[in-house]
């Protein structure tokens, strides 16, 4: 079981390692050509889809061809379930999100990778524990995602605000000032559709209010008025009423909200992805390049909190090319490949050594802020995502969507989430 303390310690210790470059591990040894001639299918979301030159380079290194398939994150889960229930492997390497580990682990669909990956490599990936189910590691982490706030500095300067807000009250005040100055009509970017991104934004706000969603006995804490989760719902409702969040967000996913942010429509990407810092600063992909910076998630307690949303690569048991698939995952984990993935796709490296190298080479946008935020990053569930997590996520996103449309009150939304989650726990 992963405790908060050990998670933070692993991430913090690794990322603060200074000065001397760490030696390459045996994980970066030349790839094997043992499976040359095989073709594997890789099913990943857009930010995991390798560019053509990397695909070609993999083939050159191993002789294995890749059929790259891209699907939206929400759609991948549906495809995985429908295929695996039918006894078919949708691909040889698939995305496995931290939130699916409990449910998919219970279904027994994925190949344990403990022995397919070297011990040296595992020791360089502290987030491995997030993908453990009953002592078996079901995926190798490839995207070291967590949440932090990202702001449009030009908007802030226009409104005469020179420091990002550190508290939630200041956040609301700054957002009102941004709106009043005309910098943006709806300053706060937050997805509010009935999708996963909405639920994770609420989790972040709950953390910002200094609390957790459940106690150690999995009893919901957020349905009590005054609890951090309850306050997080009130924050969303109030921000909408004050015109600080776009009402059209009820139909937008997190990716669509990010697209609007990088088009300059919003001022604060409240539940931002650290990997997006490089995307937002890329002139070819963003209209706000050069005026974006990361900032610590505001907090009501003084300490900025966030949580990890790590993504991994897994091999379904039904795959007919498991060894070739393992070669692909090991190749992805090589230092130079993790670096290139970061440069091309903005996926934050999961290997501590690679992350350190990027920080030392000053290639990580707002590296100091990222390091500071990582101190406050912990797992959302100390014991890993439970089997009923998808139902919690859906209950949360549905209720918040209804709250945002004015169809339910905060109390009703909180009760709805709690009732449906408890029902799922007891099923």
């Amino acid at each position: 079981m992963l405790s908060l303390k050990s998670f933070k310690k692993a991430a913090f210790t690794g990322c603060l390692c200074m000065a001397v470059s760490l030696p390459l591990f045996a994980a970066d040894a030349p790839s094997s050509k043992q499976y040359s001639g095989q073709t594997i299918t890789v099913l990943v979301p857009p930010w995991g889809t390798l560019p053509k030159d990397m695909v070609d380079r993999f083939k050159g290194d191993t002789g294995i061809s890749i059929n790259m398939q891209t699907l939206g994150w929400d759609e991948i889960r549906a495809k995985l379930i429908t295929s695996l229930v039918a006894g078919i492997s949708p691909a040889d390497v698939v995305e496995l999100d931290w939130s699916w580990v409990g449910q998919f682990g219970a279904a027994g669909w994925f190949t344990p990778l403990d022995k397919m990956v070297s011990a040296e490599l595992w020791s360089d990936i502290p987030s491995r524990k997030i993908f453990e189910y009953k002592s078996q590691t079901l995926a190798v982490p490839y995207n070291n995602d967590f949440r932090l706030m990202i702001i449009n500095k030009a908007h802030f300067d226009h409104a005469g605000i020179h420091q990002p807000p550190k508290t939630l009250d200041k956040l609301l005040a700054d957002a009102k000032a941004l709106k009043a100055s005309g910098a943006s009509k709806y300053p706060i970017a937050l997805p509010l559709s009935a999708t996963e991104g909405t639920a994770t934004a609420w989790y972040l706000l709950t953390k910002a209010y200094g609390g957790d969603l459940f106690d150690k006995n999995s009893k919901p804490l957020f349905d009590a008025a005054g609890s951090p989760g309850y306050k997080a719902l009130q924050f969303i409702e109030q921000a909408l009423k004050d015109g600080l969040i776009d009402p059209a967000s009820t139909g937008m996913t997190d990716v669509q909200v990010q697209d609007a942010f990088k088009a300059g429509q919003y001022s604060i990407d409240l539940a931002g992805w650290p990997g997006n810092l490089s995307t937002y600063n890329d002139k070819e992909k963003s209209k706000i390049a050069g005026v974006v910076s990361g900032a610590l998630v505001p907090s009501s307690t003084g300490a900025s909190n966030s949580f990890g949303l790590v993504e991994g690569l897994a091999i379904p048991k039904k795959s007919e090319h498991k060894e070739a698939a393992a070669e692909f995952i090991k190749w992805w984990m090589k230092a130079d490949n993790q670096t290139q993935v970061f440069n091309e796709l903005s996926d934050l490296p999961t290997r501590t050594s690679v992350l350190n190298a990027l920080i030392q080479q000053k290639k990580l946008y707002d590296g100091a802020v990222l390091l500071e935020q990582i101190k406050g990053v912990g797992p959302l569930f100390a014991g890993g995502a439970p089997e009923w997590y998808p139902e919690l996520s859906r209950a949360a996103s549905t209720a918040i969507n209804q709250l945002a449309k004015g169809q339910v009150s905060v109390g009703d939304a909180a009760k709805q989430i709690a009732d449906q989650t408890v029902k799922a726990m007891n099923r």
Binding site: A107, A248, A404
Partner: protein, 302 residues
Amino acid sequence: MTNLLHPGRFISPKQSEANIGLMLALPIALVMFLLVFFPVCVTLWDSLHRVAPMRAGTPFIGLKHYWDLFHDDNVRAAALNTSVYVVFTVLLETVFGVFVAVLLNTVKVGRKWLLGAVILPWALPPIVNALIWLWIYNPNYGVLNNFLLSTGVLNERHVWMNDRFVALMLISLVHVWRMMPLTAVIVLAALQSIPHSLYEAAELDGAGNWGKFRTITLPLIASAVAIALTQSTLFAFNLFDEAWVLSGSSLDTRTVLIQVYMSAFQDMQFSYGMALSVIVMFLSLAISLFYVLRIYRETRFD
């Protein structure tokens, strides 16, 4: 006639014809059994058990799923939404379908081109249809908002899907836009089979347009309308694409079929989803039976 299988046993010509008919129907009966009846029976059986990949075994639980369904708030909300879709879409599709069919029937020149244009929405894949309307309804750059803003009807852009009733109506309209052509085609075929002599006789008796429509047209297209009502109702009960594309899994517009999908493929509670789909099947069959018994009549012109 001699029975080749049993020489000496006499088969009447009628029995022989019947045997041939049975043999000719056997392939389709087999297909129907494998693709329809067998899956329905399996679904019914599994709905009485707990089938969930995350849990070992499939124990018999009887009617527990059905009991839980009737107490599930999400299912109730989805059922209410579906009822609204069914009433609204069937009504509009039937009224406009008959209207369009009558119009097309009066057109003498260029009817086939008009018919092609009318059928186009129905010919589009439902997802494509829904995506087009998603862009039209988009609050930021959609045609609907831009048109209403430019004509002064709106002062600021409106988020159409934020109001539950409006969202249900807009999704219904998209479904009607797609399915109305089918009703029009069915009714048009019936209209074209009505002998013109009946209308001439009615005119001689002094009947006006409305009288002719009421006393001749409507009764003689009743069977076609019943068929169109049946298919409209079934498609409305199974509404998925439009609601999913336009509004995702939002509870205020979620249909029963979306709820089935979410129960089975997101919650991985397959038997729960099966039980819900069984209820939908029986409801839609019951309504179709009502149409057939009350509205359909065998049409004769003599």
